[in-house]
Amino acid sequence: MVGGNSTKVSGAGESPSRHPLATRFASFTKAVAKPANVLFTILITFVGLTAITFIIGRVMPADPVLAIVGDRASKDVYEAMYLKLGLDKPLLQQYWIYLTNVVQGDFGKSIMTTRPVLDDLITYFPATLELASVATLVGILVGVPMGVAAAVRQGRLTDHIVRIIGLFGYSVPIFWLGLVALLIFYAKLGWLPGPGRIEVYYDGIVAPTTGFILIDSAMQGEWEIFRNAVSHLILPSAMLATFALAYIARMTRSFMLDQLNQEYIITARVKGLSETAVIWRHAFRNVLIQLITIIGLTYASLLEGSVLTETIFAWPGIGQYITKSLFNADMNAVIGGTVVVGIGFVGINMLSDVLYRLVDPRARR
């Protein structure tokens, strides 16, 4: 139970049950313990992530050196890499070498691009972030009202429609939907451009300050490029957004139904509040807090859902980078990409957790 009895304010004539200094000390240690706890969890998860990727990258393959240098490498290169990885040393020491490298951002070199993997990741990650961000935004803007409407009109037509859309959204294979969408809107109707993030002849004109084409082109006033980028974003983000809004709508509906069954809703009605006020000012406020976690989860899911979407739409993001590296048996790149996405995943979940604690009055103190 958060906020034990000693911190409750008592009624008329009742005196505080603890010495004020004791209460201050207790809340101080609680305040310090929380971030320490969070830090500890982050550390453990990071170690776990690197351990798993280490196992995947070094322990599992039949020949981890070959996986890194490629089968065209010369004997010298092979042996140099062998020593560099410390494959002659015990496993734990190998892991330590790996870990220290990762912490410094050294993921080795990519066979495919011959650049350091870290550079590749920095180049490609923003594209995925942009896609996932837009899709999540659409998911929220469409999904939340849908969920609220379905909960308020439970059992009626609106509810059924929303549930069917939701069901479709998280049952459909996104990559297939992308293909079908391309078929209809690009090949048959010609309404939207084909795969790619931007038209080839626009590529490279806008200086990548943030890596987000939308933001960069807007900042530099290149509105034609902006429009072009938007038109290319529509289909892939719509695909991802389908899943996002299905999940968000479903959870919003579920939370909303829970809240509408609570006693305080009756109180609100007893006060004579309009139904709108009851729904949005009272019930929804409680739902919003829970939605923070859901939105975090959605964003993280979209980061990984982008893997397949990027393949279909030739989107130059990290998903495509990982899959291409996979086919090139480029272990460094695959592992590097996995670690980065993994960190992103964990980071987002942690952020939403922290945000939740800040916003929910019951979780504070």
Partner: protein
């Protein structure tokens, strides 16, 4: 005599129903049968759940009776017939190697069922055991197990599966392994949460006082109570598992050609999307329908077995 022949079945039916609905069951087995019957009544009254059951039933039947439902094996090539549109002879048309798409879908259902079944058999018991032990024993064991669970829980499923396959090489079993590794965590969490609630109840204390061993308590008391939540969660997760498997198949990392795995069929058929739409589109529909089926079934089961989630 004929009189008896018609009245006895009617009376027997009355008897069975009365037995199932009576207010005072005679034995544990009787009570269990009653429970199942009542659950079935609630379940069958729910059209959504029944729709899900229908779809999954069709999947299982299709997979089981594949040889009876098809004339070929979906693998043999008939290049003369390649890329035929849907017709009376080929219900879903043929693909680029002349194989009947309908047949490949039916045979592919076996692969789907295989993946889903294998993953389920691995993750459910694994998660259950880890969760129950963590919840019941508590202390540092709980801490360690939950940290491990959290680590796996925090990871992107598809990406990790990709990495696994990258290391182990493509193939159906590797794909199953990769999916299982990334799917068991939620079950451990659920089992642990349930165990924590049950652990404090009085009948557990009674069993302890009676001298029941820890194993016995875990197996015969706690595990059955966790079972329903696990089953619901598993069914709901099946849809996601199918999508991940299809995704891996699409990337060429799951079942290898010429096996008729639905995701792989979409991938190989991709180039024919514009003019021979049925080649990549039909397998996608199959995935969609089965995925929806599991979602519906899971929702229905949850309404029956876990009514406090209140939908």
């Amino acid at each position: 005599m004929s009189d008896k022949a018609t009245t006895v079945p009617a009376a027997a039916k009355q008897g069975l129903k009365a037995w199932l609905l009576s207010n005072s069951p005679g034995s544990m087995a009787h009570a269990r049968c009653q429970r199942m019957y009542l659950n079935w009544l609630v379940f069958s009254a729910n059209p959504i759940a029944m729709a899900g059951l229908l779809i999954i039933g069709a999947l299982v039947l299709g997979a089981t009776f594949a040889p009876l439902l098809t004339s070929g094996d979906g693998i043999e090539q008939h290049l003369a017939d390649r890329l035929q549109p849907p017709s009376a002879e080929h219900w879903f048309g043929t693909d680029e190697l002349g194989r009947d798409v309908y047949e490949r879908i039916i045979w592919g259902s076996r692969i789907t069922l295989y993946i889903v079944g294998l993953v389920g058999i691995i993750v459910a018991p694994l998660g259950l055991i880890i969760g129950i032990i963590a919840g019941y024993v508590g202390g540092w064991v709980d801490n360690v197990l939950m940290r491990v669970t959290d680590i796996f829980l925090a990871f992107p499923r598809l990406i990790l599966a990709l990495a696994f396959v990258a290391a182990l090489g493509p193939g159906l079993e590797n794909a199953v392994f990769a999916i299982a590794i990334t799917t068991w965590s939620p079950f451990a969490r659920i089992a642990r949460a349930e165990t924590l609630t049950i652990r404090k109840s009085e009948f557990i204390m009674a069993a302890q006082v009676q001298g029941a061993s820890t194993t016995r308590i875990l197996l015969s008391h706690i595990m059955p109570l966790c079972a329903s939540s696990i089953i619901v969660r598993l069914t709901l997760d099946m849809a996601g598992i199918i999508l991940v498997a299809a995704g891996l198949g699409f990337l060429g990392l799951g079942a290898q050609p010429p096996l008729p795995e639905w995701g792989a069929m979409i991938s190989t058929g991709r180039q024919f999307l514009i003019d021979q739409w049925w080649v990549p589109t039909i397998p996608g529909i199959a995935i969609l329908v089965v995925s929806m089926g599991f979602n519906l079934l899971g929702d229905g089961l949850r309404d029956v077995l876990d009514p406090r989630s209140g939908h």
